[in-house]
């Protein structure tokens, strides 16, 4: 955690790499194994060259016996060390992944949900998670190969240097060109191609999404051809760009081959010239060193072949690290006091006066000048159109956001003076769009109170009218609900969330739109059930559904962030205000039914 936050200002990739510091030794093993393994491959060919060149001089067998043993050892060593390198590097990658995940999670835990608003839209959060998970590739494909290549390249050059210095210069130049220049060129052209194609990709994605997602509308309104034309045009654009960028992409691999070939040729040319000058087979450069340096130059390029891919990988990782850094550097949404008040006692009383929340300086406040009192046995309903600020008020109570001005008191002391986690032990319930975890029904429920007994679970489920349904399932409480509760109906998901809130049984229960996304019949049924279940509990109910609100003690109507009116159901229906109109719009029919 300190590693991630303590190095602000450094490059994002560097911050990510620092997380691997405890794994330095393992990383070193991986690089060494890779380098020695690859070095074995180079040495295998060079030694074989030595073996043949020396043998062709028909010496005593003793002269080549070491080489005979060495080639066999090198051939085994090569395979074995490459195997170890892959194991080590994957192990490091997974260990670092665990650290990165925990560090990112700790930060996200502080930020969620208000500090993550920018990440809630679309699939930003999904992308962030895949960015975090992609760090495992960073080590395997982005870090280990360049370090390995550097060691092997240095080793091969040194070996040639000891034999024939001028050739070492050629080899070093070739390896540098293939190991640095070509990867840089390749990564740049890949970046450029991706940048050029990005708008075309976006348009294709949008066109196909529209075409298939809106297929019913296109068919019904006879617009299929229009939709298809748009998708075809987008496809043609993208294909044209891809064809155009193909030559740039081919350049890297072609250059790589050319550099390797020309280096080999250069080394050979130097060798031939030097032997030719001497004029005899035992000239300044004999057949044995010539064979050794030529075959070394031939084999050494294997070390750098993975580098263009590594450069591209590093490019991706830098972008991903940048996105991760954005999250890490997002400001805390709530102030945590240095020395918080002791945890609040039960029962709790809340009193908000002049409460105003402003998410950013440029936007109008989400809520302003709100007065609200909540306490034992009192049920208050918060109603109003979408965007009126109802959920913001719930977020204040949950300590997900702080008031920008005004006061909020919990048991007479400033709400902001408590530790946010302590506040949530007494104020809890159901956030907007409650999350159903990809686990069993029991685990989803028990989450609210891990030590709850089976009887308590059953009572909460019964209060939310889920128990009969659970009992009817073949797997009962152990039924998996799928990702986001996909195996449940909308009503069952909301009821499960309600059961969870009831099981937690906090001194103040806040339910934020527990009937959202349901059809009218289900909405009414659930509202009736939850009003029955919360009778006698201190409750703040945020809802669109006005049916049954005659049962609550106070109704607060929010409009454009302000309290438009407040009172009991009977008073508000009489008054000619927002509530009256809402009531008439949706509920006159049901009420006038005999």
């Amino acid at each position: 955690m300190t590693v991630l936050t303590g190095t602000q200002g450094r490059s994002p990739l560097w911050r990510l790499l620092r997380l691997a510091r405890p794994m330095r030794r393992e990383l070193l093993f991986a690089v060494l194994a890779g380098a020695v393994g690859c070095g074995c491959g180079v040495a295998l060919l060079a030694t074989s060259g030595f073996l043949l060149a020396r043998a062709s001089q028909h010496p005593n067998i003793v002269a080549i016996s070491i080489a005979v043993v060495l080639v066999r050892a090198l051939s085994v060593g090569r395979g074995l060390l490459r195997y170890l390198e892959r194991l080590f590097s994957h192990d490091v990658a997974f260990r670092v992944l665990a650290d990165v995940r925990v560090a990112i999670y700790r930060r996200l835990e502080r930020l969620a949900p208000a500090g993550l608003m920018a990440f809630r839209s679309g699939d930003m959060l999904t992308r962030l998670i895949s960015d975090v998970d992609a760090t495992q590739d960073l080590f395997i494909r982005g870090i280990v190969p360049p370090l390995t290549a550097a060691l092997v390249g240095a080793g091969a050059t040194t070996a040639v240097l000891l034999v024939f210095a001028p050739a070492a210069g050629v080899l070093a130049a070739g390896l540098l060109a293939a190991g640095v220049l070509v990867p840089v060129v390749t990564a740049a052209s890949a970046r450029r191609a991706a940048r050029l194609a990005a708008p075309a990709r976006g348009e294709l994605g949008a066109a196909v999404t529209d075409l298939l997602g809106g297929a019913a509308e296109l068919h019904a309104f006879g617009a299929v051809e229009t939709g298809l034309d748009r998708a075809r045009a987008a496809d043609a654009d993208l294909t044209r760009l891809a064809r155009r960028s193909a030559s740039a992409s081919g350049l890297g691999i072609g250059l790589s081959a050319a550099v390797a070939g020309l280096t080999l040729w250069g080394v050979l040319l130097l060798g031939v010239i030097t032997t030719g000058v001497a004029g005899t087979g035992s000239g300044s450069l004999g057949r044995v060193p010539l064979a050794v340096i030529t075959l070394t130059a031939l084999a050494a390029f294997e070390a750098v072949t993975a580098l263009p891919a590594a450069a591209i990988q590093l490019g991706h990782a830098r972008v991903a690290a940048g996105r991760i850094a954005e999250v890490l550097d997002a400001p805390d949404p709530v102030r945590s006091p240095e020395r918080p008040f002791p945890p609040p006692r039960r029962p709790v009383e809340i009193s908000i006066r002049g409460g105003t929340v402003r998410y950013s300086g440029t936007e109008p406040p989400a809520v302003r000048d709100i007065d609200l009192d909540l306490g034992p046995g009192r049920r208050v309903a918060l109603v109003g159109p979408t965007g009126a600020g109802k959920s913001t008020l719930a977020a204040v109570l949950f300590r997900f956001v702080d008031l920008s001005s005004g006061t909020a008191r919990l048991n007479g002391r400033d709400l902001a003076g408590y530790d946010p986690d302590d506040v949530r032990t007494v104020i809890s319930g159901c956030a907007q769009d409650p999350h159903i975890f990809d686990a069993t029904i029991r685990d989803n429920l028990r989450l609210a109170r891990p030590q709850a007994s089976d009887a308590e679970l059953a009572r909460a489920a019964a209060d939310a009218r889920l128990l009969d349904w659970i009992a009817s399932l073949p797997l009962g409480w152990d039924t998996p609900v799928g990702a986001h509760g996909a195996a449940l109906s909308g009503g069952q998901r909301q009821r499960l969330a309600l059961a969870r809130a009831l099981l937690a049984d906090p001194p103040l229960l806040v339910l934020d739109e527990p009937t959202a996304h349901l059809d009218p019949a289900n909405r009414r049924a659930l509202t009736a059930d939850l009003l029955a279940a919360t009778a006698g509990r201190a409750t703040l109910l945020i809802t669109h559904e006005l049916d049954g609100l005659d049962a609550v003690d106070e109704i607060v109507v929010l409009d454009h962030g302000r309290v438009a009116e407040r009172g009991t159901h009977a008073e508000l229906v009489e008054a000619d205000g927002v509530y009256h109109r809402l009531w008439q719009a949706g509920h006159a029919a049901a009420r006038t039914d005999p």
Binding site: R86, E217, R424, P520, H587
Partner: protein
């Protein structure tokens, strides 16, 4: 999995052309490898005996030409591969979306249009690696070892035997190890997906976790889960990497074997230095493409899997061409829903792959000016009945006649022009407000669009948007509220101005205020039209003349017509 799916060649002309190019380039590359080895051997052996630069100059020049040509072939191969990949992706993508549309909205609804969209865009990108990396290596893996073996056999048959014996070990071991790891790897992939999903699940659920004080303790769980994942994965990888190990070991051992065997015969004077060098230089080349194809195999699987998914969809027979393309055969008489009656007799509907009938033996007569309400729980077949009328699906049994003419003989375009449809959650396209209203009517004038918006009660909010009617609504219209999206859908229906109106619970997902606004516009829209509306509950109904209930695909008329105005709408307006 087959290395090369024959359907790829069948469905894509570009793939056929590319395969030919790859084989030609592969042959060229093979030839260049052989020539390069010969030249190197000649130069090294020549220089060894003190032959000077003047004699070897020819060989040196040829070598540089060969080396540059190899680089050129590599470049050309990559460019050809990427271009072919782009062309093949384009061909498959077009066929895929065409076919998915022909399969129709009900097929898309049942097969997750999102999945098909991902397949048509990102999924097909996996083919890049398949074409640029895997396929050329596959061709080389077939050509090079054979060519090398023949060349070595001509130079030195003993070495050829050594290579010939060890070479088959590579595929054999690869297959043996592969078979062993296959099931383990598959289990591993499932675990990986589940654990990757776990982290996302936990992060998405953070507000809920925090509410119940479970946020901070969860950090340890994430660490534990990832650590378990590491332990399990590493035990799998220890085996999975064995295949790479075996490949490398076999190739390296063979090189060492040949070097020693050739070296010893060279020592004894049974062989020339040049031949010995040639054999040594060629030996690793025989193994290289086999190793490469093994290494690229995993990179290619993603693309191959995407292609397989595409073929599966392409191989799904479209229900009937007449559903989507205007049939040329016309009954001769043009039907008009202003005057003609629709008669469903004994109609049943079964979706492919389902046992249960979505609709069974439905009899219903829809006369011009009728007001019909279909009530029933979700899944009872209400939307299926609308799908039949919209011709998104065809009856499995029974007949639908319009004015005595069989519905299937009426061109589908002509038919749908007479129907307006307002669904529960209308789809808005990534374009302007105006284009969304004028869907299917590109010729509509600005004034006509504005009139339709006015009638739908949408004009006020549209004029308040930054660019008015030209405002982009964003992906799926998400820049608008659900009430506003529904108003746009109503404006569409107004502009479409058809005699038959299908209302699929347009207000079900709206809050009371938005629903009320919409209801007012719906009253105007239903006037002077034949109306079929769908509802969950009977007290949500508008002015209806006939009430039908659907239960598990069976339609029955309610015993008595619904008691008069029980609607919110009438309570407000009367």
């Amino acid at each position: 999995m087959k290395p090369l799916d024959p359907r790829l060649l069948r469905y894509s002309a570009a793939a056929r052309g590319y395969l030919a190019v790859t084989v030609v380039l592969g042959l060229a590359a093979t030839g260049l490898i052989l020539i390069q080895a010969s030249l190197l051997a000649r130069l090294l052996a020549g220089a060894a005996t003190g032959t000077g630069l003047t004699v070897l100059a020819g060989a040196l020049v040829t070598l540089v030409v060969v080396l540059v040509a190899r680089a050129g072939a590599t470049y050309g191969g990559e460019v050809a591969a990427l271009r072919a990949a782009a062309a093949v992706k384009s061909q498959l993508r077009r066929r895929l979306v065409d076919h998915a549309l022909r399969l129709g909205p009900s097929w898309l609804a049942r097969n997750s249009s999102g999945g098909v969209t991902t397949l048509a865009t990102r999924g097909l990108d996996g083919l890049d690696a398949y074409f640029a990396r895997y396929l050329p290596q596959l061709v080389l893996a077939c050509l090079v070892p054979v060519a090398v073996l023949i060349r070595v056999a001509f130079a030195d048959w003993i070495s050829a035997v050594v290579i010939g014996v060890t070479l088959p070990l590579i595929p054999v071991f690869a297959i043996l190890v592969g078979l062993h790891t296959k099931t383990v790897t598959q289990r591993q992939w499932r675990l990986l997906a589940r654990l990757g999903g776990h982290f996302l699940d936990v992060v998405e659920g953070l507000p809920t976790l925090k509410l119940f004080g479970r946020g901070k303790p969860q950090a340890e769980v994430i660490g534990q889960v990832t650590e378990e994942y590491r332990a399990v994965t590493m035990s799998t990888l220890r085996v999975a990497f064995l295949s790479g190990f075996v490949l490398e070991l076999a190739a390296a051992l063979a090189t060492a074997l040949v070097a020693v065997e050739v070296g010893l015969r060279l020592l004894a004077g049974h062989m020339s230095y040049q031949t010995a060098l040639l054999v040594l230089l060629l030996t690793p080349e025989a193994y290289l493409p086999l190793r490469a194809v093994g290494a690229q195999f995993h990179a290619s699987t993603e693309g191959a899997a995407a292609a397989r998914d595409v073929f599966e969809i392409l191989d799904t027979p479209a229900p009937n061409a007449s559903l989507t393309t205007p049939a040329s055969a016309s009954s001769g008489r043009r039907v008009s829903l202003h005057t003609d009656t629709i008669k469903l007799s004994g109609v049943s509907l079964v979706y492919p792959g389902r046992d249960r009938q979505a609709l069974s033996a439905v009899n219903l007569t829809i006369r011009p000016g009728d007001r019909i309400t279909l009530a029933g729980p979700s899944g009872a077949g209400k939307s299926s009945l609308l799908a039949l009328l919209l011709r998104f699906a065809e009856p499995a049994g029974g007949r639908i006649e319009v004015g005595g003419v069989d519905l299937t003989s009426i061109p589908v375009g002509e038919w749908r022009r007479q129907i307006s449809w307002v669904p529960q959650q209308p789809y808005l396209f990534t374009t302007s407000v105006a284009a969304n209203i004028a869907l299917g009517q590109p010729a509509a004038t600005q004034a006509a669009i504005a009139r339709a918006a006015q009638a739908a009660g949408a004009a006020e909010f549209i004029e308040g948007l930054p660019d008015g009617y030209a405002t982009e609504v964003g992906e799926r219209g998400l820049r608008l509220s659900s009430g506003q999206r529904q108003q746009i859908a109503l404006a569409r229906a107004f502009l479409h101005d058809a005699p038959l109106l299908l209302l699929d619970e347009p207000t079900a997902h709206l809050d009371a205020v938005s629903a009320r606004r919409l209801e007012e516009a719906i009253v105007v829209l239903t006037a002077n039209r034949t109306v079929i509306q769908v509802t969950h509950s009977q007290n949500e109904t508008r002015d209806i003349s006939r009430l039908f209930t659907l239960d598990q695909g069976t339609l029955s008329q309610a015993s008595s017509p619904c008691p008069a105005p029980a609607s919110a709408l009438l309570a407000v307006t009367s």
